[in-house]
Each structure stands twice: as structure tokens, then as C-alpha cells.
Symmetry: C2
Subunit: 345 residues, 2 copies
Amino acid sequence: MASSMFFTHCHYYSSPSSFACRLHRQVGPTPLRFFSPAPSRVSPVAAMATESSAKVIDGKSVAKQVRDEITAEVSRMREATGVVPGLAVILVGDRKDSATYVRNKKKACESVGINSLEANLPEDSTEEEVLNYISGYNNDPSVHGILVQLPLPSHMNEQNVLNAVRIEKDVDGFHPLNIGRLAMRGRDPLFVPCTPKGCIELLHRYSVTIKGKRAVVIGRSNIVGMPAALLLQREDATVSIVHSRTSNPEEITRQADIIISAVGQPNMVRGSWIKPGAVIIDVGINPVEDPNSPRGYKLVGDVCFEEAVKVASAVTPVPGGVGPMTIAMLLQNTLISAKRVHSFE
Amino acid sequence: MASSMFFTHCHYYSSPSSFACRLHRQVGPTPLRFFSPAPSRVSPVAAMATESSAKVIDGKSVAKQVRDEITAEVSRMREATGVVPGLAVILVGDRKDSATYVRNKKKACESVGINSLEANLPEDSTEEEVLNYISGYNNDPSVHGILVQLPLPSHMNEQNVLNAVRIEKDVDGFHPLNIGRLAMRGRDPLFVPCTPKGCIELLHRYSVTIKGKRAVVIGRSNIVGMPAALLLQREDATVSIVHSRTSNPEEITRQADIIISAVGQPNMVRGSWIKPGAVIIDVGINPVEDPNSPRGYKLVGDVCFEEAVKVASAVTPVPGGVGPMTIAMLLQNTLISAKRVHSFE
């Protein structure tokens, strides 16, 4: 499923593609990678909604609501216990996109009252130096969440580094132990990965019934597709996972009451792939050429929005859908971690 | 999905049912629970095969083949390194069915040359006593696999006890860390749970193509359904999971090239649920009344065998299908563990 770009806060994902339906040419051989649903760039959601039958799921507004709730909780916790949740981010090297992600996370933390700590290490740091920082944050009681900004320089073993983060502070939720608990009935993960958690949160906030519904997840990445499928199953949906080896994916998606797409294929999911009345969560964010834009490109999802709004009952726009939810969920995970360690309810 | 009974070697599973299609009345309010596909009771597989179009997947014969391979490997390892793989089983209390399982495992170990250790603790043992035994086996280099026979007496916390088994000796493969690795691309579990592993092994040995095929797993237990779905997905099938909250499960199963059923509903999967030419792996083993049997009951699967053989291209019988594979896979996991710790290839 071609190179993909999600609104995840720190990870990239790519896998081979076997099916595609491009309305636009993707920009460059590798898509640009960044996280910037700046308010001024968000599509006029309300205006779009009036032009079509589907409800447009306003991720920006839900994310703001979640952040407001977090702000109130952080304040309540600080007043009751004196404890302020803290998130530490480790950035190695000077990739501009990574620096932007980290800056955005820092700003988001500040906006809700979460302490943000940052370690900026030079590109030529050793793995041991990074591990030392992780160890320091692992042992620092003022730190409740640790994020290692990916990608790491190629001379480091990513898995080694990520595994060093204490599971109680793994607010990304990507540790295999967390994923295992997510998969198992009767077990609960310490943290749910942020982007899929954001997808489900959107469904909840829009009162979409999940139990007993047919759900199709397109894409099976460790970061989005797989945990999204596990979350849907935990909520009693009947889940199918479509991926690059699936023949006739549209036959399967057409049966879905809920579609979560996370493959990074611009406009792959056409109107004909969608059952009338389905709810569509579009995690993809793909830059495609746009001569009318001063930047020369625009961002589109995996789902052909113009067609989807005519068939679906609700759909997330790109940008302004799942994107803003990811950082909101990261903040929520950090708050959950602080509450848990201090037994604050 | 009613009480269920699988050919798993040490666990029980039950969940509520929302759909059923009973051809027989299940014996008693709670089905009998035991593990006893004794050779003399196995249906005459070859004879059945000639009466129908579907190939009958002979689990007994495949399991024997696997055990022969294990015997050869155990012997090769012993000769090369002097090391003999060892499996320790902890049995608490005096349930007859549990005692039978443990005896069967012991016999199976002996038959392939694996050392078998056994701890029999009285029903009124404390959790701490059980944990002490586990700790002893954890530290014993001659033990490469540890099994705690379930169910434990009700005064013990099963999760605590199971979590105490070192992951390197968790030959059951049920540790969340193992399940997480099973779910994640690019990661590998130390052990794959025995029954679902046995299902996939049957598909492999019968040269059933999995990649790109539609697979439906019926049931989502931690022990069979969920890991079976993850295994199928690892092999690039397009997987759907049907469970007690699924409406019209037969609509979904009819699309499947491969069905794995693990719900414990006698004869639930009818011929009309099956796509012509599909391959059916039936994990269920359900006792139903049978006045013609001296025992008063017989064992049937989740799948109505008589109907399935007319539609499917291949199907496992019950008994004699998946059942014999579970212990074979347990032996294989024990061997894998011994090889890994001694870096023997």
C-alpha cells in the first residue's frame, strides 16, 4: 500500500501496494512527511457539510473538547495532589519534520498544563547516550510519559531503544506487552496507541454504534490498522482487515458499517467502495500535486472525500479529521499515566 | 457461544451464545470437559473420505508425522549436545479431567524423548506454594517449558500464577508479550499457542494456500480464535472474526476460503454456511447425547461434518482433526525452547 503518511505523532510507515485508485498524482517519489494541520489550512467543515448528505466528523472540534477536558483534569489533579503530569520527548538529530512534531507536542502540552521535557541529542549520538536519557526519564518521578521521536538515526537499533522505555511510561502504547493486552479478552493495556484511540474516540463522540456492526480496517500497520482492529473488536464489532494482499478489497469494504482506512493511498477508497450510510474514518494524509496551492500540493486522505460524502452517513475530512485527535490522545495518555501512578481518580 | 470445549491441553473457555443450530442436544447443562481422543475412538477417517467429495484432513496422521520429526530432532540434539528438552507440568488438586490431561502430556513427552517433570500439589495449596514451584522450574536449566494445568482452585489468582512463568519457558504462548509479538508485523513471538498453531500446521501440511485468501475465524477466545486470526493474518490472509455479537455470521462464513471454528457449539456451522470448495478446520469438540454409545454421548465439532463434507474441499473430523495436533505442538514448542536456549539449530 505505497508509502503512507498518517497523523501519527512520531512514526512513519510504508508497505508495498497492490491496489490503487489515484485521482491525483502523489507529490514526488516519496510523500512529504510532516504534521501540520494548522488551523488556517483546515477545510471549512461546516460549509462542506451543507453540500452533501454525510455528516462531516469534525476532529478539530472534538480534539479541542478533549483538550479542554484534559486541561480541567490536570488542574484538578494539581490542586488536589500538587502533581503535574509530565511528558518527556527525546529527539535525536536535526530533521526538520521531527523538530516540528516535537515543537507541536510541546505546545500542546503547554496548552493543557502538562509539563514538557525535551532532550535534543545530536545526530551522531551513540545508542548508549539515548538509552541513558531514557533511563533518566524512566527513573524521574516527574515524568509520566516518554516519547522517542522516530525515525532514529540509522546507526541505532530502534527496537532496542523503544524497548528501553518503561512500560508504565510508554504513552505511545506500542510496547508488545500493551498490544498483547489490547488483543486479549479480560486484559487491559496500560495505554492505547494514540491514533487508533483517536479514531474510536471520534466514533464515540459522534454516538456511532460499534457493537454488533461490521467494521473494516484498511491497512494492518502496527501503529494504526492492527490496533484499530483490536479496539473495534473489543467493542464487539465484527472486524475484517483488508491489506495489500487482499483481492477485491472493495467487495469487503462495501459490507462495512464502519470503515477505518490507514494505508496512505490518496483517494483509494471510492464512493463505490462504501455501503450507503456507512461511517468513514480516514487516517491517511497524503500530499498530492495542486498547482492552485502556493505550496504546490494539497493534503488528501485515503478516501475520496467528494464521493464519500454522497454515500456515507458520516466521514472525517483530511485535514481536520483524525489528525488533531492524535496529539489530544497523547496528552490523555500522559494524564492517565500520572493519575495511575498517583492513584488519583 | 455456549460452553465450549476444545482440544486444548489445559484450558477451558466459555462465553454466552447468541446463535446456535443444534442437531443434537448437548449433554447436561454444562458440557463434559475432558481430553480423550483415545486411538480406539477415532473415527475411521479413510472410510469417511470415500463417501464424500471433501478431503478429510487427518490430524491424527499429521500429528504422528510431527511427533516423529520431533523424536528425530530430540535425538539429534541429545547426541550433539547432551541436552534433553524438559517439560514441567504443575497440577493443583485432583480433578480427574486435569489428571488425564497431565497423564497424556507425560506420555506424549516420553514417546518423543522429552523429559517430563510433574508437580502434584493438593487442592488446598496456597498460591505462594504454587509460585514457589514455578520459581523452581524457572530457575531449573533442565526445564525448557512450564505448563500450569488449568483450572486452578478458585482461591488462586490464575493471572498471577500464569504471569509468574518465565516468558522463555511459556510454551503455552499465552503471555501477553507473546500475543503482542504475534500481533505485530516485524516481531516474532517466542512461542505460538498450541491449538491455533496446530490449525495452521494442518493447512500447511495439506498445502492449503493461505496468502491472499479470505479466512473467517469463528470465536475470539484468547486461547484459539484470537491467536488463530493473528496467525492467518501473518500469512497474508484477509481475516474476519465472527463472534457471539455478529449478526448473520453465515453471510460472512460463506465468503471464506478458509474457516477455523472454535466456539464449542455442536454442529453450528451448517453446509449452507460454507462456500463450495472451502477448507474447514474445526476446533470445537462437543459431547452430545448418543443412546447408541456405551458412554451415552459422542463427540462432535462446531461444524456439521455430514453437511460440510458435501460442500467443502477439505475438512477436519472431530475427533481426529485438530485435537491430536495440540499436544504435538506443545512438544514442538518445548523442543524449540530447548534449541533456543542452547543455540542448537
